[in-house]
Structures are given as C-alpha cells and as structure tokens.
C-alpha cells in the first residue's frame, strides 16, 4: 500500500497529513459454537454477514469479550486467555490458578476484565487482561445458584443469587443491592446498574458501588437480556413473551421505543463496540444467529451459520 502524506497546513494554521491507508474486512464479533467446539467469527456486517470458520477450536467452553478483543476458553482441563481474535489469529495464554471449567462468565465493557463462575463450587474468579497476559485472581465465594453475573472495570462483581442481587467489591464484604429473586440479566454503565428479574421487573440501581438506590424502571414480561447502548444513553431489554426489545431513555427513565423481533429472543449479548447484540444463538446447523443492531436504523438481522459457495 502506497503511503500518502499530504501537508495541509501552513505555518500559522493547523495542518493534517494522512498516514498510509489500511484496509481490512469488517467483523461483527465472535460467538462460541458449542456444536463446532470453537470460537467462530461473524464475518461482514449485519445484512451481509455470516459465521466464519472456527478460529479457536477443541473447546469445551468459551466466552468472548464484546468486540472480540479477548476471550476465555476452556480446553483439555485448562482455562486459556485468547487475544488477537480480531486478526483471526488467536494467541493462547494459559491461565494458571484458574477455577475449573466455568459455568458462566461476564465481561467488563472494555473487555479488560472478566469474571468466571463455578456453580458447583459457588466460586467466582476475576481474570485480568485475558487478551494479553491473563492473570487469575483469588477465588471468591459468592455462593451457589448465581443466575446472572456482571463485572465492571474496577473489578466489582455483581451477582444475581437466589436471595437477591449482591455486590462483591474487592476487599469489602458482600452487600445486597436489591432483593430480586432469579435475576435474569445484569448490566452496568458508570455508577449505574440495571437488573432484570424473572418476574419481569426491571430495576435501576444508582451508585451501586456507593450508596445504592434502587427503583423500578419498567416491567417487561419474561425478560431474557439487558444491554446498555455504547453511548450510555439507552437501555435495551429483550422480552421473550412479546418477542420484542424495549428501549428506555436512561436520562428520562422513560420508554423510548420498541423493536419487534421476528424470532423469540434468548439473550442480549454485546458482540462488538458497535450497538450490536446477539439476540438468539443458533440452535442447530441450519438455524441462523439473530443479531440486533441499534442506531439510527435499528433492525434485526439473521446471520447464516453456514457458508456460501
């Protein structure tokens, strides 16, 4: 690629110069395909995307950070941190001292931190820098039966336990944030936290790491996922009963819209730094993924799991 360098400015004004142009294929994220036992990229953009070949295989379990900056993978009895996925060339790093095969994981928004959870042991564990030089923290006994999990960039763990939603901050005792039973999903943004309960209640908890204050934001029948828009202005709640995604304006705490879905949602997992979420994973080989794209032209898109010829 031929470099281009153009001097735009003059001595008394700001000048700009363009560095060499680099071109690549766009990725919409990564998914763990349990059937293929591997992590597969979503090649292309919604509307012209498909799930590509496995880039990290032989996995018993995996979880990918939003945007694909990192991943955790369990293979042959060990937990690995993976980086370089965006280049489709993963770099494997064994994570010493990690718990066994996780049952659940959650990521901080920037993907720099992850928490894994072992249901049998009732233990959670922070994994720092999973895409670079991963390091496992001390196992944290949060108790069995966690149904939802979240972690912020500070390493604070929020877990939906049978007795309610608890905050586990480093060096501090666990504190009950809200007595929500059977939390379905938890999302954080800044100092706020949102919880979807199995009964359909959507709670917002302000200053959850300081003086938490909870109140009911909305009620969505059979919620299955929560997500905060990358700009932090909107909250998306996927409801299975209504086959829709409800949109709330977080500034006014009012409903801002509703996206009907052609399929029954099962989750709302961030795929990338863009407002793009996985709504429904593939249930079978011919079953496509369904992704929700927010933004000025929101829409639900299928992503074929197979591959064209």
């Amino acid at each position: 690629m031929r470099g281009i360098k153009i001097l735009l400015g003059i001595l008394t004004a700001l000048g700009l110069a363009a560095q060499p142009l680099r071109l690549a294929g766009p990725l919409s994220g990564f998914v763990f395909d349990s059937g293929a036992a591997g992590i597969r990229p979503i090649l292309g953009l919604p509307g012209a995307a498909y799930v590509g070949d496995v880039v990290a295989g032989g996995l018993e379990w995996a979880s990918v950070a939003p945007g694909g900056s990192a991943a955790l993978a369990f293979r042959e009895g060990a937990l690995y941190g993976l980086g370089g996925l965006e280049r489709l060339e993963p770099v494997w790093s064994r994570i010493e001292g990690a718990l066994g095969k996780p049952d659940r994981a959650a990521w901080s928004a920037d993907g720099s931190l992850a928490v894994i959870y072992s249901a049998a042991a009732g233990l959670a564990q922070l994994i720092r820098n999973p895409g670079g030089a991963p390091a496992a923290g001390e196992p944290l006994a949060i108790g069995p039966g966690a149904t939802a999990l979240a972690v912020d960039s500070q390493g604070r763990i929020v877990a939906g336990l049978p007795a309610g939603v608890y905050l586990f901050a480093p060096g501090e005792p666990a504190s009950l944030l809200a007595p929500v039973e059977g939390a379905v999903a938890i999302a954080t943004a800044g100092d706020r936290l949102w919880v979807a309960g199995a009964g359909g209640e959507i709670l917002e908890i302000e200053d959850y790491a300081g003086r938490p204050k909870a109140f009911l934001l909305a009620s969505v029948p059979d919620p299955v996922g929560l997500a905060v828009a990358p700009d932090g202005k909107s909250l998306f709640v996927a409801g299975r009963a209504d086959r829709s995604v409800e949109i709330y304006d977080l500034a006014s705490r009012t409903a801002a819209g509703r996206l009907p879905l052609a399929v029954e949602p099962a989750a709302l997992e961030a795929l990338s730094a863009e407002p793009l979420w996985l709504v429904r994973a593939s249930a079978a080989g011919s079953d496509p993924l369904w992704v929700l794209k927010a933004g000025p032209e929101p829409g639900l898109w299928f992503v074929p799991v197979g591959r064209g010829e």
């Binding site: 003059i10 700001l14 110069a17 560095q19 680099r22 766009p26 079953d287 799991v305 064209g308 010829e309």
Partner: protein, 721 residues
C-alpha cells in the same frame, strides 16, 4: 334214415330177382312222398317215416297199365301186415284199365309205436286170361324222444316231461353244470325245433342251432349252468319244442355261503346297514372325537371269512378290531369301533371296507373355517393364506382400494384378534377395520378396506397379517401427474445490496402428493468475485422444502413458508431454481424449471459508518466502513470542519484510494467479505491552535465520501468532540 333206405334197396333187389324168374306184371308204379316222386317195381318198398308217434305219414301210388291188352281189370287191393298201415283213395273195384290208363290210391302210416313196422299192399288183376298180382312192401318208422340229465358230479337220471332238474347246493357266485340229454329211441329220425330256458341263475350252454335232427338211436346233449347269487332257492323252466309237443322241465337249485349283515350301533340304538350305504358319524368338534360300533353278523348258511377291515379317509380310524382273518360261522357276529377325529371343520368322508363289502362314511367336523377374498370393483377374487392381493395399477399420488373379506365357512364362530400390515411407511393402508377382536359367526363375513397409494413408480409389496395368516399386497405405481406450474412469492429484478429478502414458493394448484424440493441459489458475479455472504438464512446456497399433499405452499425449515437470503455486497445475478420430487423419489422438476432472478447492480460506493478508532493530541485515526458492489473505490474525500475559533489551512482532503482498494479487492482475504471493507485512515496534525489545548481538538467533525467510476457515496460525518 340211412338204415331205412338201405333196407328199401335190399327189398327192391330181392323183388327184382323174383320178378326175373317170373313174368313182370304189365304195370308201372309211381310213388310220390311229399315232393319226392319215384318209381318202384313190383315188390318194391315204400318207407313211410312219421315225425312222431301219432303223426301220419302217407305216400301216393299211381298204378299205370303198361300191357297191350285191350284192358286189364283190377280186381282187389289187399293190405296186410301191421295195422298202422292203411289205404285210402281206392276206386270201386273191380276197375278196368285200358293201356296207359292209371289208377291212384294212397298208402298211409299212422304209427302207434316208435318201433319199425312192416306191411304189404297187393293188387290183384286179370289181363286176359291171366290173373296175377302186384305187390308193394311197406315199412313204417317213427322217432320217440326220451329225456335224462346228469347232475354235477352225479349219474344220469331219466327225466319225464314235467320232471325236475335239481342242482345240489352251490356256493354263491360259483357255477354248477348239469348235462341234459335228449335221446331218440325210436326207429326214425326226429326233430327238436327249439330249446329254451328261464330263471335268472340258470343258463343253457352248448346248444346247437335249431332245428336239430336227431337220428334214431342218437342223442342231443347240452348243459344247464346254475350260478346262485343268493341263498334262497332258485327256480327255472327248461322247455323243449318238438314236432308234436313241448315238454318242459323244472329247474331248481339253491345257493350256499356266508351272508353278512351289518349294523351300526349308536347310543340311540342300532341301525341295519347294507353294503354301499352311508355311515353317518356323529359330528365332532375339531380336536375331539366321535365313535360308533359296527357289527357284522353271518346271516348265511356257511362259514365266512373276513380277511380285512380297514378305513380310508383323513380323521377316521378303527379300534377294537377282531383278529383277522376273521371266520364267522353261520349266525356268528363280531364288532369293532369306528371313530372320527376331525382336524378341520366341515364335512369329511371315508370308505370303510369289511371283507369285500365297502361303505361310505361321512362326518362333520365342528369348527370355524375362514375363507378370504378381495373385491375390486365388481370383481371378487378368492385368495388363500400366503396368496397375493393384486391391486389395479394406479398413478403415484392417487389411491386405489380393495375390499378384503373374511368369511367363516365353518360350523362354529371364529374370532379374529389382529389385522395389521407388516410394516410402516409403506404405500398400503387399512381403513374401515372392524373393532377387534371381532367374532365372525358361522356363515358370516366381515370386511375392511385395503388402500394402495403408491409413492414410487413400479411394484410395491407389503404383508397383510390377519392373526397368523399372511397375505402379500402387491400394487403397481404408475407415473404421477405432472407438476403444476409454480411461482415465486418474492421480489425480482434489481435489488439493493445487503438486503435480507424473503422468498416463498407456491404451486398454482394443489398437488395430490407431498413434494420434497430443493431451492438452489446460484450467484453469478459481474466483477469476477464471489460473495460468500450471498446465502440463505439457513446457511449455504441450498435449502430444502416440502409442499404437503393437496396444498400449494412450500414449507421450509421450522415450518416457515418463506426463506430469507442475503443479497450480499457484490454486483451480480442471484438465481433461485427449485427442484421437485415425490417422497418416493420421483423427479417432477420440469426440464427447464422457471427460476427467480435477482440482480445486484454495480453502483457508487456506500459508506456504512465512520468511527474514531483513536485520537491523540496530534493524530486521529478513523475507521471507515462501507462497500462497493463493483469492488472498486478510487477516491476518499474528507471534509474537516474546524472547531469554532480555530483555523484549518485546508478543510478538504482527497485521497487517491484506488491503488489501495485495488490491492485489497485482489487479495484472497477480501473475498470473504464480498465488497465490504473497513479502511483505517490515520491523520497527523501539525501547526498551531488558538483556543484548544490539543491539535486534534481543533477539528470539530469530519465528513467522508467515497468515489468510484460510477459515482460518489453519500457523506457520513462524525463528530470529534
């Protein structure tokens, strides 16, 4: 007769010799007996043979004067000898005869005995002066028949007419022969005109053809055969037809031997039975047995021997048999048991043999018997277990049926517990089945319907099971109806890139068969590069569908009536072509199946997003995402808007991107993304700022456009603050 003639000749010779010594009388003697005329000389002899004693024999005598005198006088005629001779027809005497003149008279013989008798007729005459006589000798003969017979093994016995020819006791069905003798003990031959016999067991044998002449002293023999067929005395009559009478004789004989009398003994009593008659056994259920006693008694007059007693016929048997051979004295009896154990329902028959006598035996087995048949239209065909029900050939997709009938032709109710087909997923089916188990009364019929709906061309077979009986179902499938025309329910023609459009498929009219189909997507790129994103939602470029029977709409995976596909980001032609086949695999796809064509045209590039990848005080990196269906971008234009109060020496930057994009679109990596790309553009900043602290803060926003030879994209702006 021969003896009599000889005697006549000798007499004539003697008279002739005497005449030679004397002068012969002047007369000639003409004799006529019946049609026989002859001449005798003086002293000649006339033999008069009578047919029987009491029957006259006569001769005409013509005396002709042969002398030369004027006349001759016949003075007297004398007859001497046996009194059975007489004359008749003489003229009054004396009578004169002129020369050549004749005198006639008769000589008659009426025998009173069969012995030979003699007599003489003398005619005295005077010729001139000479008186002399002419002499005719007479001989009378007559037959006399006597009768006798020789019984079998015996001696001859005389028999008078009306007497009896008695045969000794003769074994039944054997023949005794007696000889009957007719003896002519008279002097002349006699005639037997006919011999007849009557009486069934009596037969005459060795008879000559009548009439029969029996010479004197000779006899006629013939046989009388007696063949008794029963013990009772037999009688007959032998009749002999003679000339003068018809003597008859009684024939008598009696048979001897054993006569068997049979009797069937049942608990209800006994019943006499004649050979050849039917013995009806008591009915018995299949698997059970009925019995009766057969008794044989010698009602004859001689010992009888029974060498064998047997029965032939399925299900029949004998028991309690006496030791064989069995000798039964007159009046003696023996018995045995005849049993019937039917192995199947219905009438069974057998033959029972006792010695030389046979009997028909029959019995009825009580039980159910199922008969099977099937009816197609008006034609009913019987079918045996293991046989085949053959259906009329029918086109795949259509159905034909046969009515299967189960009839109980037995004598007891039958129960059918199960009616089924030997396999599933076969083109045969059962309907109208009776509620099972079903009881079929004797003589009753139940039925159900067997359907044949072929799914493939050719012969199909299956097994129909009715309890333990199996029948083969055989049907022939003929080519199905042609596929109706179909249409796509989808947009066609030019389409926007990056679209996910739905496609449906429907027949113009329902088809009677469930159809399986495949919809195949083909992508023909206009720019020599494939786009792997062009595929169905289900993945890949083929999807299967079904069109249920008697419907029109194609149904894809998860019961969807449409399938979605992506148009991708590369210019080209997307073609969807369906194929159809029956569930049996018969291809119904037209030779040139109509296809759906979608085109993605070449166009100016399109920008999808512009994002800030990184921003430092003196550098700014933008991520520009978009696509170009022609896979070409020649230029990128950036329009910078300065922050208020700041000054940009140049606000527009144009980048000749063609070499970079050319290299990108020619790379194999780019093939995975169609024409999608993400361009990373980094700007370095130089110069002075007035009101902001960093160089990058001097830029308020940037707007980007892309250009190729088909045009320029819309601008996408991003705020940097």
């Amino acid at each position: 007769m021969r003896q009599s003639c000889l005697w006549s000749v000798l007499s004539a010779l003697m008279l002739s010799s005497a005449a030679l010594a004397q002068t012969a009388p002047p007369f000639s003697l003409q004799i006529q007996q019946g049609a026989n005329r002859y001449t005798i000389a003086d002293g000649g002899t006339i033999t008069l043979p009578a047919d029987a004693i009491g029957l006259m024999s006569a001769a005409s005598v013509t005396l002709t004067y042969t002398g030369t005198a004027a006349s001759v006088s016949i003075n007297a005629v004398e007859i001497t000898g046996h009194a059975d001779f007489t004359t008749a027809g003489l003229p009054d005497l004396p009578a004169s005869l002129s020369p050549r003149q004749s005198l006639n008279f008769y000589v008659r013989y009426l025998p009173t005995t069969s012995a030979r008798v003699l007599g003489r007729v003398t005619l005295n005459y005077t010729e001139g002066r000479i008186t002399s006589g002419v002499t005719i000798n007479l001989v009378g003969v007559a037959p006399e028949f006597a009768f006798s017979f020789i019984p079998p093994g015996g001696n001859a016995m005389p028999l008078a007419p009306g007497g009896t020819v008695a045969f000794p006791l003769t074994a039944l069905n054997t023949t005794a022969t007696a000889t009957f003798i007719i003896t002519n003990r008279g002097s002349g031959s006699g005639t037997v005109n006919n011999i007849t016999g009557s009486g069934a067991p009596f037969q005459l044998a060795g008879l000559p053809l009548p009439p029969v002449t029996v010479e004197a002293g000779k006899e006629l023999r013939f046989s009388i055969q007696f063949t008794p067929t029963q013990l009772a005395a037999a009688q007959g009559v032998l009749q002999i037809e003679l000339v003068d009478r018809r003597p008859s004789f009684r024939l008598e004989g009696s048979g001897s031997g054993p006569v068997y009398a049979y009797e069937v003994i049942l608990p209800s009593g006994g019943m006499a039975l004649a050979p050849g008659e039917l013995i009806s056994m008591p009915s018995a259920p299949v698997g059970d047995k009925s019995s009766l006693t057969v008794r044989v008694r010698n009602a004859g007059n001689a010992d009888g021997t029974i060498s064998a007693i047997s029965v032939q016929g399925a299900g029949f048997s004998l028991a309690d048999l006496p030791f064989l051979p069995l000798t039964l004295a007159p009046g003696g009896a023996a018995s045995f048991t005849l049993s019937f154990a039917p192995t199947q329902p219905g009438r069974a028959s057998a033959r029972l043999r006792i010695g030389n006598d046979t009997f028909e035996v029959s019995g009825t087995g009580l039980g159910a018997t199922l008969a099977y048949a099937y009816a197609i239209g008006d034609a009913t065909t019987t079918v045996q277990p293991g046989g085949t029900l053959v259906f009329t050939p029918v086109a795949v997709g259509r159905t034909t049926a046969a009515r299967f009938l189960i009839s109980n032709t037995g004598t007891a109710p039958a129960v059918v517990n199960s009616i089924s087909l030997g396999a599933t997923n076969i083109p045969f089916g059962l309907t109208d089945l009776p509620a099972l188990p079903v009881t079929i009364a004797a003589g009753a019929t139940v039925g159900f319907t067997v359907q044949f709906a072929p799914t493939a061309i050719g012969t199909s077979t299956a097994t129909l099971k009715i309890d333990t009986q199996s029948f083969t179902l055989s049907g022939s499938g003929e080519p199905p109806d042609p596929l109706p025309s179909y249409r796509f329910i989808a947009p066609s023609g030019p389409q926007q890139p990056m679209q996910q459009i739905a496609v449906g498929l429907a027949l113009e009219k329902p088809y009677p068969l469930t159809l399986n189909g495949t919809l195949t997507l083909a992508f023909s790129s206009e720019v020599f590069s494939n786009d792997p994103a062009v595929q169905f939602a289900a993945g890949g470029r083929t999807v299967t569908f079904t069109i249920p029977a008697n419907t029109t709409q194609a149904v894809f995976a998860q019961s969807a009536t449409e399938i979605r596909l992506q148009t991708g980001t590369v210019a080209g032609l997307i073609t969807l072509t369906p194929s159809f086949s029956t569930e049996g695999g018969i291809n119904l796809t037209p030779s040139n199946p109509p296809a759906l064509s979608l085109s993605v045209p070449q166009s100016a590039p399109r920008l999808l997003s512009v994002a800030i990848s990184s921003k430092t005080s003196n550098a700014l990196t933008l991520l520009v995402s978009g696509y170009s269906t022609s896979r070409s971008v020649t230029q990128m234009d950036f329009q910078f808007t300065p922050t208020t109060g700041e000054n940009l020496a140049t606000t527009k930057l144009t980048l000749n991107a063609e070499p970079s994009f050319l290299a990108w679109y020619q790379s194999s990596t780019s093939q995975q993304y169609g024409s999608l790309f993400t361009a990373t553009v980094t700007f370095t900043l130089q110069g002075d700022v007035k009101n902001v602290t960093s160089l990058s803060d001097a830029i308020q926003s940037v707007s980007v456009t892309l250009t190729n030879r088909l045009g320029t994209s819309s601008a996408v702006a991003i705020s940097l603050r």
